[in-house]
């Protein structure tokens, strides 16, 4: 269930359809599909935005076992950035105090069940899980 996608926002629809296929094959409903798609998008778009010098593709793996979805995103030749570090976000800030951005990792950390980060030989790997039901 591993597939490589070009480092481009335009890959998002292909990633969505591919993931839909895997999740549909396991009869998983919207309650788990929504957060899985959201977590993947937040991680993938950050890889595109912040490591754009690296021109390799991003590898996506979606596995389902006993109702638990495990998604792994891997990219090569990038600097270390630990997505599991807590974000300091003031979600009660007023409209005037807010600036767009900075919410992706906060959302990610709120919606997945487990989040891991591995870094070795300039290879970055993010693994998250989401349980259905």
């Amino acid at each position: 269930m591993r597939k490589k996608f070009a480092r481009d926002f335009d890959s998002l629809s292909a990633i969505y359809e591919f993931t839909e296929g895997v999740l549909a094959a396991h009869d998983l409903g919207e309650a788990v599909r929504f957060p899985v798609h959201l977590a993947m998008e937040e991680l993938f778009t950050n890889m595109v935005k912040y490591n754009h010098d690296s021109d390799g593709e991003i590898e996506v793996d979606v596995a389902v076992d006993a109702g638990v979805v495990t998604v792994t995103l891997t990219e090569h030749d990038v600097d270390e950035f630990d997505v599991t570090r807590p974000r300091e976000i003031d979600t009660s800030a007023s409209l005037g105090e807010r600036t767009p951005g900075g919410l992706g990792l906060h959302l990610l950390q709120n919606i997945v069940d487990n989040l891991d980060y591995e870094y070795r030989d300039r290879r970055s790997r993010v693994i998250f899980t989401k349980e259905s039901g």
């Binding site: 926002f9 998002l12 969505y16 979600t91 800030a93 409209l95």
Partner: protein
Amino acid sequence: MFEINFGGDGEIVCSGRLDAAQCDRALSFLDGVSDARTLDFSALEYISSAGLGILLKTQKRLAENGAALKIVNVNNHIHDVFRYSGFNTIFDIEAKQE
């Protein structure tokens, strides 16, 4: 697929999936809006932080004229995204009757 258009009552109707690849198009549309509007999300299935970004940008711009967006018919999943971001305090949001 994502669509953004004016509905029959001047409301802004969004449908489909608003992901990061659709935000430029959505923002071009919203940049043309200069007064208080209702956004109808009944056919919007999905939004990510990129979509929140353009909504915030528009809300801030409108606030300069004392206007604001109101968002109605928000599905449960999108409602969660708004809550986790604290956007329920800076937008007037109505959930979908499901």
